[in-house]
């Protein structure tokens, strides 16, 4: 081991969302970590404490563990690591397919730099077959399933539910340094063959999507028959077979490109192997359909009947507590509102980023709502929850509020005279 207290030194290659949060989390656990990225400007910013991603507790945790973290753009620094994680974010193409070129390039950069006895762990999500295809003689290669959640990345890094480890030989004991690294978290460690681990990650996401799809399908039914999904979901969560943490909140389709990417992977593999994945195709279709709830509702209630309407949008980020706009529901909506006047406000995203020819800037949520015919709350930021519906009603010209994530209190909105629309109930 490389330290006097016998804790292994952990390396991370790729300082985007996954690698950065995972490495900071590991430093918080007490490990010395070497954080490598070939982008020298990114490393320079990290050294100054400037985080390239927005994640709760990330800056504070990084600052608190500054003495344990070495940021470097020199790959030879990885030579002092016992375990090296390769963890770049894997981009997803517009077709929902992982673009693995950057991961492969980083692997080729890192492998020559690590010690022969070091353990190399790919933390980036890859399709089944990827890891075994990269195996080579003399390389201690493992695949570890990541379960990062945007907006909860540090929490997830510090409190994993279990570790799923893809191995060349699942019956062989894990290398000592790697095992000790994992055991520091006191959670179950599940070694399995590479392909199982790769499919395990996809399986987790399919289970999540199944729950989301149930919620989305039945919440729409609620809207049609006068039921309220918010009354039903808690009952389901008390069923042990379903569970308290199940994904039963209705949303605008399946959020994020990673889940869709995994569904597409399953349909591709099913096509190649001749298995039935028609349910997966149905999930994808249902997601695409529910994703456009706000657009359809806005047309139905406002755009089809109001002359020269002004549409206000609260929230541009993909979800609260992130600065990412990739797959943001707000962007998906705004892209289809070009003929209409639009104003937008987000706590971290500039209005000018909105995909609209002339978005009207706003200084605050209430400023954004001023004179609007309809208000669409497309990211459930905490900042919006405290806005008084009476003030919204007073500021707006029209009364329609589309709030898919139930950011505001429905009854308070109704009391304020607003016409409140949300997912899962006809008249909230």
């Amino acid at each position: 081991m490389s330290r006097s207290d016998n804790l292994p030194v952990i390396g991370f290659a790729g300082m985007t969302h996954l690698g950065l949060n995972s490495s900071v989390g590991m430093a918080e656990t007490g490990f010395d970590v070497v954080c490598f990225d070939p982008d020298a400007s990114l490393i320079a910013a990290l050294v100054k404490g400037e985080m390239p991603v927005l994640e709760p507790d990330l800056p504070e945790t990084a600052a608190r563990n500054k003495s344990r973290i070495t940021f470097t753009s020199d790959r030879t620094d990885l030579g002092r690591c016992d375990v090296v994680y390769v963890a770049p974010d894997v981009p997803v193409t517009d077709d929902g397919i992982s673009d693995l070129a950057d991961l492969d390039a980083l692997l080729e950069l890192v492998i020559p730099a690590i010690r022969k006895d070091a353990v190399l762990v790919n933390l980036s999500q890859v399709p089944p077959g990827f890891t075994r295809a990269r195996m080579r003689t003399g390389l201690n290669l493992y695949y570890q399933v990541e379960t990062l959640i945007f907006g909860r990345a540090i929490e997830r890094a510090l409190h994993p539910e279990r570790y799923i480890i893809g191995c060349a030989d699942p019956d062989a004991p894990l290398p000592d340094a790697f095992r000790r690294c994992l055991e520091a978290y006191g959670c179950p460690i599940l070694p399995m063959r590479y392909e199982s681990a790769e499919l395990c990650k996809i399986s987790i996401n399919c289970c999540l999507v199944a729950s989301i799809s149930v919620a989305n399908t039945l919440s729409e039914l609620c809207e049609g028959i006068g039921a309220d999904w918010s009354e039903i979901a808690p009952a389901l969560k008390l069923d042990r077979r379903i569970g308290q943490h199940s994904y039963l909140a209705p949303g605008l389709g399946i959020g994020g490109s990673n889940l869709i990417r995994d569904l597409i992977t399953v349909t591709r593999l099913a096509e190649e192997t001749g298995s039935d994945a028609s349910v997966i195709a149905a999930w994808i279709r249902n997601s695409a359909y529910r994703k456009e709830w706000a657009l359809r509702t806005l047309h139905d209630r406002v755009l089809n009947t109001t002359a020269d309407p002004l549409i206000a949008v609260w929230g541009l980020a993909y979800k609260e507590n992130t600065h990412s706009t990739k797959n943001a529901p707000a962007f998906a909506l705004i892209e289809n509102l070009h003929p209409y006047r639009l104003t937008a406000f987000d706590p971290v995203i500039k209005t000018s980023a909105a995909p609209h020819p002339a978005p009207i800037d706003a200084t605050s949520a209430l400023d954004c709502a001023a004179d609007a015919d309809a208000l669409c709350i497309m990211t459930p930021w905490d900042d919006f929850k405290s806005v008084d519906p009476a003030e919204i009603a007073s500021a707006m010209k029209g009364k329609w509020v589309l709030d898919p994530y139930r950011t505001l209190d429905a009854k308070a909105c109704s009391t304020a005279g607003l016409k409140y629309m949300t997912l899962g109930v006809a008249d909230a």
Partner: protein
């Protein structure tokens, strides 16, 4: 699921409409003329698309800058003879654009290409017609797609739902017949209790959508529907209400109840500024 080749709408040099006196063709001509778009409406008197020499006649009429709107159909196409006539028509059009490729081809198809059992229709749904009429339209779509691809002509297939409007010459079960019956003070007899939900679209909105497709030189597939379905009973009762006379009665049900709704997201995305009349608005207008 349309792709606009014109990012901004632009009027074509001319629109040649195959169909002249029909419900859709005549409404389309009026809508195009309102936009100052030159039109040439070809009825059967001018070119009989089922005639042996029709291909050459049509090709000789077309210019490379024309938009060709294929509206003509022997409808409803219920038997082999009607199917054959409709296939002759598409053979003529396919042959004509092979000889004289146009700038844009718009084919007026039908939502009958979807299975009757489909309750939420959208453009990505595989076509699976269960009626000769739907099979005819699907066959025409496929044949035209092949021909257009070979000729390098952008092609849009438009699939309207059930049409209604004051000028509809057809008298099929639905709003148009109900309106006539109510205005005549007759009793409207429903199939069963008229529970079936359908998306009835005003012909003026269909025509306006076609105009938009033409102006954007769009290619692909688009359903034309309002996004809100109403029952035949609602239609009938509203007809009686608007006419101030007539009555509605049910009858023993012969067939199971089926419903059809449309996901109109693709239309909202393709033409976000286009407004459709609600059934209430459009049906009321058809009484004036």
């Amino acid at each position: 699921m349309l792709e606009h080749l014109n990012a901004s709408p632009a009027n074509p040099h001319r629109v040649v409409i195959l169909g002249q006196n029909g419900f859709v063709a005549s409404t389309l001509a009026t809508a195009l003329q309102a936009q100052d778009i030159p039109t040439l409406a070809l009825g059967r008197d001018t070119i009989d698309l089922t005639a042996a020499n029709a291909t050459d006649s049509l090709a000789g009429t077309l210019n490379t800058t024309d938009t060709l709107a294929f509206v003509s159909a022997l409808a409803p196409s219920r038997d082999a003879a009607a199917m054959a006539a409709n296939m002759h028509m598409v053979e003529t059009v396919a042959g004509a654009i092979a000889k004289a490729p146009v700038a844009h081809l718009v084919n007026i198809s039908s939502d009958a290409v979807y299975a009757d059992s489909v309750h939420l229709a959208y453009e990505g749904l595989p076509a699976a017609p269960t009626s000769p009429h739907g099979a005819m339209h699907l066959a025409r779509e496929i044949l035209l797609s092949n021909a257009a691809r070979a000729a390098g002509v952008p092609l849009a297939h438009l699939r309207p739902s059930l049409l209604y409007g004051a000028g509809d010459p057809h008298n099929g079960y639905g709003p148009n017949r109900f309106r006539r019956q109510a205005l005549a003070g007759e009793t409207i007899t429903l199939f069963g209790e008229g529970e079936e939900l359908r998306d009835h679209v005003a012909v003026e909105d269909v025509a306006e959508t076609i105009v938009q497709v033409i102006q954007h030189r769009s290619s692909g597939v688009l359903n034309i529907a309002t996004g809100r379905s109403v029952s035949f009973r609602q239609c009938a009762e509203r007809a009686v209400e608007l006419a101030g006379k007539g009555a509605v009665s049910g009858s023993p049900r012969q067939n199971p109840v089926t419903h059809r709704h449309f996901d109109v997201t693709a239309r909202l995305k393709a033409f976000p500024a286009l407004r459709f009349a609600s059934f209430e608005q459009g049906f009321t207008k058809s009484f004036r």
